[in-house]
Subunit: 333 residues, 2 copies
């Protein structure tokens, strides 16, 4: 790897390495999100799809298939499937969370209405299932339909866990698997399955995707608390205000004394938050060392993802996937 390569972000190097595949996937996404009859559908999806995002999930499918030596074109359909499932969940999430912005633009529920977001999300789910059926691989279908169930279950779990200070680490892990890691895992795994690789390598790809997704989401949750230093900035504390239970808080509650427990009950469970509460919460997390611990957990999942890659063929894309696992936690360094 040259110094120039090292200076580029790993997902940008993947984008370059997979350029032709990504062009094909984009064409497929444009074709399949269309509707002859209901022009509202491409309007809403184009708003979201054009806004970009980094296309990390479909890239994982493409990278996994390519590094496994896959020479066909079915991976394009699977990559588009993964992006459709992701986009559908974003549309529904924004309704559920009453979000106003996504990727720096007003959300679809704001520009159109909740109804359009719900129904166009359903349409994208259905289109995703049509696409995934086309390669005719039953194992791929099992993997992706299982992922869809884990995602939906995780969303419901997150809804019912909100403001519940009895939320355990187990539940947190299920929520972030549903929110992020399940689709990362499936995206990687189907790449290996479509390439017909040995079971050990397929499992390795799944483990990589799971670890990458968990590391990424834990890092995100930690950054909402200002990172492991617990520095309050303008993007800090959203989860606290929305009474979301993430790992640093869950562990701090588990170790709380009576007064601290009363604090969490008031601020998270009852939602009675006052000036200075965010600072107080932060100081409790620092006191119990849970920010630093969450950082260590995220790095642990990242290393787990990288270790899994070892059984896969030596390939530049494998190196980029390795570096991507570094990158998602590098924000915490």
């Amino acid at each position: 790897m040259s110094l120039d390569d090292a200076a580029t972000k790993p997902h940008e190097r993947m984008q370059a390495a997979l350029r032709d595949d990504l062009v094909a996937v984009d064409a497929l996404i444009q074709a399949r999100m269309a509707s002859d009859h209901a022009p509202r559908i491409p309007e809403v999806t184009a708003h979201l799809v054009d806004a970009g995002g980094k296309r990390v999930r479909p890239m994982l499918t493409l990278a996994a298939a390519r590094l496994c030596g896959y020479a066909g074109t079915a991976h394009h359909k699977l990559a588009a499937t993964v992006e459709f499932i992701h986009t559908a969940t974003l549309l529904h999430d924004d309704v559920v969370d009453e979000s106003q912005k996504r990727r720096g633009r007003p959300t679809a529920n704001l520009l159109w209405d909740n109804k359009s977001s719900i129904l166009v999300g359903d349409y994208l789910f259905a289109r995703a299932f049509q696409l995934m059926v086309e390669p005719g691989n039953l194992r791929v279908l099992t993997i992706l339909s299982n992922a869809a169930a884990v995602i939906a279950e995780g969303e419901v779990l997150q809804l019912t866990a909100a403001a519940n200070i009895a939320t355990t680490e187990d539940i947190y892990l299920q929520v972030i698997r549903g929110k992020t890691a399940a689709l990362f895992e499936a995206a990687c795994e189907v790449g290996g399955v479509i390439a017909d690789r040995p079971e050990q390598q397929v499992r390795a790809l799944a483990t990589y995707g799971d670890g990458l997704g968990i590391a990424f989401q834990m890092a995100d949750d930690l950054l909402d608390w200002g990172g492991s230093d617990g520095m309050i900035g303008k993007n800090t504390g959203d989860d606290f205000r929305e009474r979301k239970l993430t790992l640093p808080v869950i562990r701090a509650i588990a170790r709380a004394d009576a007064a601290e427990h009363a604090f969490w009950q008031r601020t998270i469970e009852k939602g009675d938050q006052r000036d200075g509460d965010l600072e107080q919460a932060m100081s409790l997390l620092r006191r119990h060392g849970t920010l630093e611990e969450t950082r260590a957990e995220a790095f642990g999942w990242s290393v787990r993802a990288q270790t899994a890659l070892e059984v896969l063929p030596d390939h530049p894309l494998r190196d980029m996937m390795h570096d991507l696992a570094d990158y998602v936690v590098a924000r915490l360094a």
Copy 2:
């Protein structure tokens, strides 16, 4: 057929004939709508599933498979799939329509919240896809995923067609196929596919389901206008008030003179409705004969469904399906 049989409603006779199959399907529905982690899921679904409905859609799958001589158990999974897709669309429909009642009980969005209805609907969609993958029949998967796309597209189309007096009969047909007929069609068709019947019979089952669904929905839309007599009752005029374009209105608008057109523009397009407008609308439908025509269309689709059955094996369930096509329009007699 004895007089006793004739006196029983056809779907009740089907229920009796398919009792063992239905018990198995119910057990599967209970097992698969559960969630180890998120108790909110079975709460919401049980509320809807227990409220019953007639289970017409899963019965069609069971009946189609049985009359085709199917002796396996995969039809149970497909019947449960069909019911899950139906239940998921009901949950989302109630959010989109801001409904308060469903099957005589308060809706889930009212008892819990819109968020739960959206996310539990997504969960049921995902569970439906998991279930349909299990029998390992790719053609079944193509049929059901296509149906899911038609359903979702029809819902979006209905949303954008609402209050639009330029809505055509073609669009109306697409909307009611999405709303009702596509799932009826797929429910019947997969029964024939899983039983491995010749193409002609599989097509016949699909045509039956399509015709039955369209006849059913047209009858429903006509009854909202008080049936072909145009009698105003306590359940009349909901579609008018909600500015929904159904066949009797679409045809009346197509034949409207300038004054009538202005009336439809004011009441449907602008939504400015006053005392006496419902009566005025009704009298326009009667004047143009569109209630009577819609009744004839519904009967036509019912006959088309029955005619399709002729190539199928002689079987008591075939007779019940025939009678069911009479029954859905008998309300209009």
